[in-house]
Amino acid sequence: MKASDWLAAHPAEAVTVSPEASLPEAAALFLEHPEVRDIYVVDAEGRVCGHLGFRRLAGLLLAHLRPTHSRRQLVERVVGGSVREHMDDHVLVMRPDERISEVFHHHMERRVEAIPVVDGERRLLGVIRIADLLRKAINRY
């Protein structure tokens, strides 16, 4: 099934944030949308330029609860920073004409729960959520 067909049948909107937002601002977005685990960073032109996951963000903001840190985590804990510095700028995206089954597994590898679908300009058309795929899968049983 193509991404565009899936989106037509299972519309789902992405939660987005600006790269200049602070980490607590991003956290507030997650708390507003309790079912969401992935938010997308979009620049001023509306293009997707990054991804921020819930666990990554929780790890940063709750670092003081962890008794061991890698050096990388030590620096992150001390320095803080905006969403831009902690987002993953290597976002896996889908085009509307790609087949879900060809792309999906890369997302499972990356431990994300939603796949953003973008047009030729990297503007968000919607997201394909694992939860919806799961809903379809259990209807087979």
Binding site: S70, R71, D88
Partner: protein, 411 residues
């Protein structure tokens, strides 16, 4: 037989280390070292017919490369800039102080070995003295829920000082290899510059490559492969593998942009295995007679390093504009010594000319690690308490809690 020995060291070290940290609250490192000592030739090793020599060297070189890669990737340029002036100056001061005092002290005493110029041993020990291990300090901060500017400064400093230590140690080794002969200076420059250039190109390449590899498993192959390749090239072309691996990490992180999990997480999972190997190997090389004979050297090393870093970090922190509450206590918090220094000392063992010095260095560093990992934790606690950053009411129940909870688990 080597396979058997490594298996024993990994498992027994892990068991002893975790039990020690569980029941006595000492860092795991201490248990690792003690197990290594237990299997050293003086004790069980000879009896069991175990022999580590053949495997140790390449394993140590690769393992040290892995750690150097992680040290290099600890921060981006932007993060360094925002770390704060006083943290940088305090770190530089701490490293300089420990280096100078240890060097001066050992030169003054005239500690040396036959094969090397008189400044050789003091220089190596001074370089090894610059390293601080983060684990015990982070554990104290967590245990007592420390919070405040001193805590922040300590966390930033322990993350950064290894990088300086790696640079210093690499330069020292290059100088020693040239034997202080002025005509050999181009070789020294090559050893450093080649490491920076090759490591830098490698970092750019590996960052590009890792973007194409989605699977964790494949990225692990690429990253470990790159580190091994670099260490192998360093051996073949005589440049500093340690510095090259650190540059690899630094440039990979730099070109990699903000998000570094992809480049470092797979390797971070190997770090504990590397440390178990380092410390148990170091324990293997521990020689009671050397340690007893040179007991006063060990004590001297400990004192000079402590004094140097307390004074150095005080000066550095004050110059950087830190308030006295930070400047007075920051040096005390950074005594624990550990994995990187031990790995460096083990690396010396690889070159025949350095063998005698290596035995001395390994014994001094191993004993000093045991000392600083226990005393260092107390000193860090004292410093944090004096600065009023500890939550004493809630701290210090760690061991007991842990024990009970584990009992609750499972079916």
């Amino acid at each position: 037989m080597e396979i058997l020995l490594i298996g024993i060291l990994l498992l027994a070290g892990l068991a002893f280390g975790t039990l020690g940290s569980h029941y006595f609250g000492v860092p795991r490192v201490v248990g690792y070292i003690l197990i290594g000592m237990l299997f050293s030739p003086d004790l069980l090793g000879d009896y069991l017919g175990l022999d580590a020599a053949r495997w140790t060297q390449p394993l140590v070189a690769i393992a040290l490369g892995i750690v150097a890669y992680l040290i290099g990737g600890a921060a981006t340029v932007g993060q360094l800039r925002r770390l704060g002036v006083s943290i940088i100056t305090a770190t530089v001061g701490k490293v300089t102080g420990a280096f100078l005092l240890v060097f001066a002290g050992f030169v003054w005493l005239g500690v040396g070995v036959p094969d090397l110029p008189g400044w050789g041993v003091p220089l190596v020990l001074a370089a090894l003295a610059t390293i601080t291990a983060p684990a015990a300090i982070v554990a104290i901060i967590h245990q007592y829920r420390a919070r405040g500017p001193l805590t922040t400064a300590l966390l930033g400093m322990v993350a950064m000082d290894d990088a300086l230590g790696v640079v210093i140690f690499s330069v020292v080794l290059a100088l020693l290899a040239a034997d202080g002969v002025v005509s050999a200076l181009p070789l020294v420059v090559w050893e450093i510059v080649a490491a920076l250039v090759i490591g830098g190109i490698g970092g750019w390449l590996i960052e590009r490559i890792s973007r194409l590899l989605h699977e964790h498993e494949l990225r692990l192959v690429a990253l470990v492969g790159a580190i091994i390749l670099l260490v192998g090239l360093a051996e073949a072309w005589h440049f500093s593998g340690l510095l090259a691996a650190m540059t690899l990490g630094f440039t990979a992180r730099w070109f990699g942009g903000s998000h570094a999990e992809r480049l470092f997480e797979p390797v971070e999972q190997l770090e504990e295995m590397v440390f178990v190997l380092f410390f148990t190997f170091a324990g293997l090389y521990f020689d009671l007679s050397v340690a007893v004979e040179h007991g006063w050297l060990i004590l001297l090393f400990f004192m000079l390093r402590a004094a140097g870093q307390v004074v150095g970090s005080w000066i550095g922190a004050r110059l950087g504009g830190a308030p006295p509450a930070i400047a007075n206590n920051v040096g005390l918090g950074m005594l624990p010594q550990g994995g990187v220094a031990v790995g460096m000392a083990l690396m010396l063992e690889g070159q025949p000319r350095f063998a005698e010095m290596a035995t001395l260095a390994i014994n001094i560093i191993t004993a000093s690690t045991l000392l600083t990992e226990s005393i260092g934790a107390l000193a860090a606690r004292f410093g944090l308490q004096r600065a009023g950053e500890l939550d004493m009411a809630n701290g210090g129940q760690h061991a007991g809690q842990q024990g009970r909870r584990n009992g609750d688990e499972g079916k």
